[in-house]
């Protein structure tokens, strides 16, 4: 610019560029938003109810919610005791068993069955703790879903769930 005083042209340039920038940003919104889950995907991800009565003592079933495998484990008394009598401080990811079950329902362990290492599904009723064993890289979890040995850094994740009654839970 040669003149010291801003000219009308300068004002027009800046005004046009500003409005153009706002327009460009506004145009980007739908283009980016359309990649988020659409209404039908969100509807398909609604909470599910699981009836616990057919699950026998010691049995583990697998259900799906939002495309993720969920283990529902009806733990035996022996498994519950072993899970509770543990030096929490020595665990790779310290967490007491009581923090991983609902109060009064410690026989029910509801976990997301995705190994926290690289995402494989661990196999139930395996390993030295009668918990879960991931065949991909050898991570070993106990019946509470806590990592004990192997490369996985964290305990198996807990899905959001609640007890609707003693025999029914809602996941999600």
């Amino acid at each position: 610019m040669s003149s010291a005083e801003p000219t009308r042209r300068d004002f027009l340039y800046i005004a046009t560029a500003s409005v153009g920038a706002v327009g460009a940003a506004a145009a980007l919104v739908p283009l980016i938003a359309q990649m988020n889950p659409d209404a039908s995907t969100i509807a398909a991800g609604a909470p599910i109810e699981v009836d616990l009565t057919p699950i026998a003592d010691g049995q583990v079933i697998k259900v799906f919610w939002r495309g993720k495998p969920i283990y529902v484990n009806h733990r035996t008394k022996k498994q519950i005791e072993e899970a509770e009598n543990v030096d929490v401080a020595k665990l790779p990811d310290p967490q007491p068993d009581s923090a991983r079950v609902k109060p009064g329902h410690s026989q029910w362990s509801v976990l997301i069955g995705i190994c926290t290492h690289l995402g494989c599904i661990p196999i139930a009723h395996q390993g030295p703790y009668d918990g879960y064993f991931c065949p991909c890289h050898g991570s070993i979890y106990d019946t509470s879903g806590r990592i004990r040995q192997g490369p996985a850094p964290l305990n198996l994740a807990l899905p959001p769930y609640e007890f609707l009654s003693d025999t029914k839970i809602r996941i999600g």
Partner: protein, 422 residues
């Protein structure tokens, strides 16, 4: 324009970059300092508008492709899912469908501008022919895109248009089977149309690059039709043409937005909201509005093969325009008799479009035939003869004169005008 640009970067990184890949210099010389005739009017903004529409169609198209399923059992529903479930899906779909209409509107205006001002004449023949190729690519792309929603009109348009090739003697039927990938329009057809509909716009981008390159080799035409002679005849592209293009693009987008938000289905056919039914042909079968003039020409000829040939010829004949028009004067501004035939041609094109939407009976057929005769006579008879016999008006001495001597008799020596400071 030839050789290296005059771009001299100040920044050290830009100097490093410019020596290795002179993109900044290319942008500088093509879009910033590029000498543009100073008298261009708003009809010249449609090239920029077309570039914008091409980008808009590609962007909305790629995004729609993330949600569309190209299978006969799922295509229609996937489009409905886009309209109802996908975030902003309704907007993206309406932008893309109405965008196609706006794309063709801009293309036709752009072409009429070229015909009026003689932009196809020497040395712009290749530029014009590349444009005709672009029109053909657009027509193919638009046709295939319309098939994808797999509505009634989609299916039957696919059947009718692919059946055109059966008019070719000997090999026609084989060609049609080859196009279909089956014994009728079906899933193989839909799948391959999807693939080609995704591909062709990028072919269009490539030909647009050639089109702009050909343009920059010879420079823009202008309303007087006389080439720039001195620096007084041109201005830098930026800011003058940039802002003019930008302004009219906004006006054009207002029209575009009007359709998208208020009347998004006005230009479409309601029968395309009925899922395709191979057993029932709709009673009122018509293509989208931008194909109607060609459709009218096809139906005007009572013979199958000749009708198809007339359809093809009506587009191909455009490529010969630079040689059919024998006039030495470019712009219709100085060709009063040509101007009248030109506007008659425009009315004929619009008339053919209207007739294409009508059922092929009675007076509609009669007028379609009359208009078809004028259409071809314009190129084959009127233009060649006019160039020889027309008395043209005297041309101004230069572009600058035509701008700065408004109202004064042409031919008077120009008083030295105050030089415009950049």
């Amino acid at each position: 324009m030839s050789g290296h640009s005059t771009y001299q970067p100040q920044n050290a990184f830009m100097q490093w970059m410019e020596r290795r890949l002179p993109i900044a210099g290319l942008v500088y010389s093509s879009l910033i300092v590029y000498p543009t005739p100073r008298n261009l009017n708003y009809w010249w903004t449609f090239g920029g508008i077309l570039s914008f529409m091409l980008a808009a169609q590609i962007v909305t198209g790629v995004v729609l492709a993330m949600h569309y399923t190209p299978h006969v059992d799922m295509a229609f529903n996937s489009v409905e899912q886009i309209m109802r479930d996908v975030n902003y899906g309704w907007l993206l779909r309406y932008l893309h469908a109405n965008g196609a209409s706006m794309f063709f509107l801009a293309a036709y205006i752009h072409m009429f501008r070229g015909m009026y001002y003689g932009s196809y004449k020497e040395p712009r023949e290749v530029l014009w022919i590349l444009g005709v190729i672009l029109l053909l690519l657009m027509i193919m792309t638009g046709f295939m895109g319309y098939v994808l929603p797999w509505g009634q009109m989609s299916f039957w348009a696919a059947t009718v248009i692919t059946n055109l090739f059966s008019a070719i003697p000997l090999v026609g039927e084989s060609i049609v089977t080859w196009l279909w990938g089956g014994y009728s329009v079906g899933n193989p057809t839909l799948n391959r149309f999807y693939s080609l509909h995704y591909l062709l716009p990028f072919v269009i981008v490539g030909v647009v690059v050639l089109h702009v390159w050909a343009l920059h080799m010879v420079g823009q035409n202008n309303p007087t039709g006389i080439e720039p002679k001195t620096e007084r005849d041109t201005v830098a592209f930026t800011p003058y043409a940039t802002i003019k293009d930008g302004f009219f693009l906004v006006v054009f987008c207002i029209l575009f937005a009007w359709f998208v938000f208020y009347i998004p289905n006005f230009l479409g056919h309601p029968d395309n909201y009925i899922p395709a039914n191979p057993a029932v042909t709709p009673t009122h079968i018509v293509p989208e509005w931008y194909y109607l003039p060609f459709y009218a020409i096809l139906r005007a000829i009572p013979n199958k093969l000749l009708g198809v040939m007339a359809l093809g010829a009506s587009i191909v004949i455009l490529a010969f325009l630079p040689w059919l028009d024998t006039s030495k004067v470019r712009s219709a501004r100085y060709r009063p008799l040509y101007r009248q035939f030109f506007w008659a041609f425009v009315i004929v094109c619009i008339g053919l479009g209207w007739l294409g939407s009508k059922p092929p009976e009675g007076n509609y057929v009669l007028f379609a035939r009359i208009f078809t005769v004028y259409y071809f006579a314009y190129f084959l008879v009127i233009l060649p003869v006019l160039g020889k016999v027309e008395r043209t008006k005297p041309l101004p001495n230069s572009i600058a004169d035509s701008v700065l001597l408004e109202g004064k008799p042409i031919g008077a020596p120009a008083p030295p005008p105050p030089l415009a400071k950049a």
